[in-house]
Symmetry: C2
Subunit: 211 residues, 2 copies
C-alpha cells in the first residue's frame, strides 16, 4: 500500500529538502488554508467557493492553487486531517478513561466526525480520482486506532470479544451517515445502543451455536 500520497502534495509539514528549506510563509499559507477550509466546509458545505476559503485564510487564490492544484485536493486534505485527528484521539482517550469508556467515547467521536461530513458520501462516490485513496486511508488510520481500544476493552472484560474493528467502523459510519427524519440525535442514540450491545456480553467469547 502506502500509496495514499499519489499525485498530491497536501502540504503537511513534511517535505524532502533537495537543497533548500521549505519557506515559512508557505507553511503558514497551507495551515491557514486547511483551517479556513475546515471551517468553511463545516458552515457552507463542501461545495463552498474556493474564493471564500482563500479570503477566510487571508491568502490569494493563486496561493491556494499553488498548494492544492485542484479544489478536490483541498477537500481531500481536510478530510485526511480530520481522519488523523480522529485516529489520534484514540490514545488520548485510552490514557484518560477506563477501557470500556474510552472505546465508547471514541466511537461517539467518530460518529460525530461522520455526521458533520455532509457531502463525504457524495465526494467518495464522485468518481474523481483525487478521492480514490481516501477509503483506504480511512481504514489504514482508523482500524488500528479502534483495534487498540477494542483490544484493551476486551482484555479488561468491559466488552465482548467477537467484534472486529471493521464491522464497528462500517456500522457506526452507516448509522451516522445521514440524519434520520427530523431526529438530530438519532445517530448518537443508535451508536449508544451499539455500544451497550458491545458491553452486554462482556467476557463471553463468540458462540455461533447460540440463537
Amino acid at each position: 500500500m502506502a500509496d495514499h500520497r499519489d499525485a498530491l502534495d497536501d502540504g503537511s509539514q513534511s517535505r524532502e529538502l533537495p537543497g533548500r528549506r521549505r519557506r515559512a510563509d508557505a507553511q503558514r499559507s497551507v495551515d491557514a488554508l486547511l483551517l479556513a477550509a475546515k471551517e468553511v466546509f463545516a458552515t457552507s458545505g463542501v461545495d463552498a467557493p474556493v474564493r471564500e476559503i482563500a479570503d477566510k485564510a487571508g491568502v490569494g487564490i493563486g496561493t491556494l492553487y499553488r498548494n492544492f492544484p485542484q479544489r478536490a485536493d483541498l477537500v481531500a486534505a481536510v478530510f485526511r486531517r480530520e481522519i488523523d485527528a480522529c485516529a489520534d484521539a484514540a490514545p488520548l482517550l485510552a490514557g484518560k478513561y477506563a477501557p470500556g469508556d474510552a472505546l465508547g467515547r471514541w466511537l461517539q467521536r467518530y460518529a460525530a466526525f461522520i455526521a458533520t461530513k455532509r457531502g463525504l458520501a457524495s465526494v467518495l462516490h464522485s468518481g474523481n480520482p483525487v478521492f480514490n485513496s481516501l477509503p483506504a486511508y480511512f481504514d489504514q488510520r482508523l482500524q488500528p486506532a479502534l483495534r487498540s481500544l477494542l483490544d484493551a476493552a476486551v482484555a479488561a472484560g468491559d466488552v465482548r470479544s467477537d467484534i472486529e474493528p471493521d464491522d464497528l467502523l462500517t456500522a457506526v459510519g452507516r448509522l451516522s451517515m445521514q440524519e434520520h427524519r427530523g431526529r438530530p440525535d438519532h445517530a448518537e442514540r443508535m451508536v449508544g445502543l451499539l455500544i451497550d450491545g458491545l458491553r452486554y456480553r462482556a467476557g463471553q467469547a463468540s458462540d455461533p451455536s447460540s440463537c
Copy 2:
C-alpha cells in the same frame, strides 16, 4: 398530501386551460427535453451541462428554462417520469407472469432503476427544496405498485406473508444504491437472494418465536 406539484410545472400534458389551448410546439419541446435529459443523465450523470441537453433536444436554452425554471426542476421531472414508468410496469408484469415471477421481475426492474441513478442519493440530500417532494413521491407511487404485486404473490402462495412493501423498497434500494467494489452484478445477485428469501417460507405466516 397531493402536494407533489409544489412550485413546479414539470410540463406534463395536463394543464388547466384558462381560455387558450397549450401550444403543440411547447408540448413537443417538453417531451424532447425530458427524453434528451434522461439520455444525457444516463450517459454523463446528473451534472451534465444544460446546454448539452438543450442541444440534444434540438431546442434553445431559453426554451429549456421556460419549461424548467431551474436545472433542478428538469432533474426532478426526469426522476418523476422514471418513477412513474417503474410503477406503471407493475400491472403490466402482473398481467404477463405468475404472481411470484411478476414480483421478482418488478423488484429487479426497480433495482435497475436505482442502480442507473448515480447521483440520485446526492440529489436527494442536496438540500435543494426542489427535491423535497421526491421521497414522498417515491413512496406514493411505488408502494401501492409493489403492494399489489406482493399481495397477489402472497395470495397465490408464492411468497411469505410477513413482509411489507416499505421494507422491500428500502432494502432493495440500499442494495442497489452503489456498486460494490468492482462487482457490477452485486446488486442484482443480492436482490435475487432477497427474492429467494421471500419465496423460502411461502405460505407461512410470520412466527416470531421460531429461531
